[in-house]
């Protein structure tokens, strides 16, 4: 019966006080746990006339140790010993010594267990941090290997640094360095303009539950989250050879951790004013000594400090990004060499054939027009002024064409003195108007030695053909019809635009 009361009472006291102590502050929690053990000892004493109080004190010593470490243990030893003295009336120093030895043993055991637990937690933290870094690095590497598109590459870098599945920074921005133009300019960023925007974006992402790959894909198609930020950073241009921290970071090749609000650096002051940036880290993007740009990260929303561990976790990504940027630039350079005309910088004949083929395949039902143009009396120009002047003329003419067409990426040097322009979604009337615009622009341009041409100025003849007027919807016939129209223009006296009107060849 009495044991039942003892156990029942202890369970009741413990549960009630367990609930109470967990509702309080951590400090009070410890006091309440110590108090609970005292109540339990008292309950035991009430039931058993405090006959074995000297044994019960051991529980108080243990609780004191758990709650207040050494201080708690020593206090419990002294209080317990005095309690026993008050009950028995004799001061027993062997008992005190026993308590001290018990306390020391318990402290060693408790300390050892606590140390194990601490080490376990520390290992878990380190494992978590390393695994996160490795996972992000792996995912980013796969995506980077998968693309040579610079935009997608930049999106991958930015998203991997900011997304929850990534390294979890609030915002990241990429700047490119252009040594030829002596400038560092903002290219792309991801993240909010201010904390309020940040919370909205987070809530949306949380609701939609988008993962890292999803975020990268989403950014390719929809950049509404970062539109405002991108608009702002694309207006940022800084002289490359200035005295600022961006340049110093590129020179040192090491990340720089700074507070934009308390620095005198003009670039960081600008970031602080425009983007509310404060604590941030700047990472150089460079490979084999070539500076490509900078990656800037900050926690504008939650203001979490950027620790050295976090900086270390970004470094491999920044280095991988630099390598990927290097490869992309090389690829772009090779692509330019292969698909651009070396003299005029317009796309070349090979590029024209590729684009035309794609347009015919992908937009089978859409309208498509082609302008073919040829310099009138170009042989005369070369014979009169020399081939070097002829090359200069072609270069100048290319820039006139580039400025006069709706999309300069659709203007090509077809070969020799012949140029073509592709006009998707344009019918023959609209294409004729574009040709007329070019013809007028050429007439208004002063070409060197242009006045020595027959007629006193340099002129071009144009042939225009549109897909829907063809008998056979083939690219060969489109070229042939436009060419035929060009011959018509030539035969009618040059310096004019002729359209292919659907007459069979």
């Amino acid at each position: 019966m009495v044991y039942g009361l003892l156990i029942g009472g202890i369970v009741l006291i413990t549960i009630i006080l367990n609930i109470l102590r967990l509702m309080t502050t951590p400090a009070l929690n410890r006091w309440l746990l110590a108090g609970t053990s005292s109540l339990v000892v008292m309950w035991h004493g009430v039931l058993f006339d405090f006959y074995d109080l000297h044994w019960s004190v051991l529980l108080l010593i243990m609780t004191g140790l758990v709650c207040f470490h050494w201080k708690g243990m020593i206090t419990a030893i002294l209080v317990g010993w005095l309690l026993v003295y008050s009950q028995s009336g004799t001061l027993s120093f062997p008992l005190l010594l026993s308590y001290i030895f018990f306390g020391l043993g318990a402290a060693l055991l408790f300390g050892y267990v606590k140390q194990l637990k601490r080490e376990q937690s520390a290992r878990l933290r380190m494992l978590t941090a390393s695994s996160r870094q490795l996972n992000v690095f792996r995912e980013v590497s796969f995506t980077m290997q998968d693309t040579l598109d610079p935009d997608r590459l930049l999106q991958t870098i930015l998203t991997s640094v900011t997304a929850g599945h990534g390294l979890g920074f609030n915002r990241s921005i990429i700047f490119f360095a252009d040594l030829e133009k002596d400038s560092i300019y903002g290219v792309m960023g991801t993240g909010p303009m201010n904390p309020e925007d940040g919370f909205q974006i987070w809530e949306e992402i949380t609701r939609q539950h988008i993962d890292l790959q999803g975020l990268i894909d989403e950014k390719e198609t929809d950049s509404t989250h970062d539109e405002q930020l991108n608009e702002r950073i694309r207006k940022m241009t800084i002289p490359f050879h200035g005295n600022h921290l961006f340049k110093q970071t590129l020179d040192s090749g090491r990340p720089l951790h700074v507070y934009a609000s308390i620095t005198d650096d003009p670039v960081l002051r600008m970031l602080h004013t425009d983007l509310q940036m404060d604590e941030c880290t700047i990472f150089p993007l460079h490979h084999q000594g070539i500076p490509y740009g900078l990656l800037v990260i900050d926690n504008v929303v939650n203001k979490k400090p950027i620790t050295p561990q976090k900086i270390d976790s970004v470094r491999p990504i920044a280095e991988q990004a630099s390598l990927a940027l290097h490869q992309t630039m090389l690829y772009q350079r090779i692509e330019t060499l292969a698909l651009r005309d070396g003299l005029t910088r317009l796309k070349n004949h090979r590029s024209f054939e590729q684009d035309l083929d794609v347009l015919f395949r992908e937009c089978a039902t859409d309208e498509l027009s082609l302008i073919v143009m040829d310099i009138d009396h170009f042989k005369h120009f070369n014979d009169t002024n020399g081939h070097l002047a002829g090359n200069e003329l072609l270069t100048r003419l290319a820039s006139v064409i580039r400025r006069s067409v709706p999309d300069e990426q659709m203007a090509y040097r077809f070969g020799g003195e012949e140029f073509v322009v592709l006009l998707p979604q344009y019918d023959e009337v609209e294409a004729g108007q574009v040709a007329e615009t070019i013809r007028t622009a050429v007439l208004k341009t002063n070409f060197l030695n242009g006045e020595r041409q027959p007629g006193g100025q340099l002129t071009l003849s144009f042939g225009v053909a549109s897909k829907h007027t063809l008998q056979e919807q083939t690219l060969e016939q489109l070229i042939e019809c436009a060419d035929q129209a060009l011959y018509t223009a030539k035969s009618k006296g040059k310096n004019q635009v002729c359209r292919w009107e659907g007459v069979p060849l």
Partner: protein
């Protein structure tokens, strides 16, 4: 005989503390969280959360047979506490418990458990750090969250295996 009663007292007290601390902690944080949420005028059921930042200790797709072939019931999702006497959840760990081994596969630290609504309230000063922590602790150990995490991890393991 009374020495025996001291042993009974000690074992009962320590056992009771160890066995009831975590359930009591969940009960208390649940009540406190609901109270804080009521003051804010928020229903905890509607608070959206994300465990995007859950960290996997294994490479996905994995070739570890015990993990690769694990069924959903073998995935153990449990809160990770720092102390038995003063329970405070630090995160949620996921492991595969098979007959032969227990393999930890993922961990979500509580600081990375994303609750944007709470972050906003904290930033704007509508709640203090302690209330934020209490709601966060309640949400992360909630059965709904643990089940969602289990689903997510299983989905990842399963999805990536199919993708192989």
């Amino acid at each position: 005989m009374t020495e025996f009663s001291v042993m009974i007292m000690t074992v009962t007290f320590i056992g009771c503390i160890l066995l009831t601390s975590q359930p009591c902690y969940r009960f208390v944080t649940g009540n406190l969280a609901r109270r804080h949420a009521a003051i804010l005028g928020v229903s905890l059921k509607d608070v959206s959360f994300s465990f995007d930042q859950m960290v996997y200790f294994i490479a996905l797709p994995t070739t570890i047979p015990e993990v690769r072939d694990a069924v959903k019931e073998e995935l153990v999702v449990e809160p990770y506490y720092d102390s038995y006497f003063f329970p405070e959840v630090n995160g949620v760990q996921v492991s595969v418990k098979s007959e032969s081994a227990v393999i930890p596969i993922a961990y979500l630290p509580i600081d990375d458990f994303s609750l944007p609504v709470l972050d906003r309230y904290l930033e704007t000063g509508k709640i203090n750090e302690r209330a934020n922590r209490t709601i966060r602790e309640h949400m992360i150990v909630h059965d709904r969250t643990l089940e969602a995490i289990r689903e997510e991890v299983y989905h990842h393991l399963h999805e990536d295996r199919l993708a192989q």
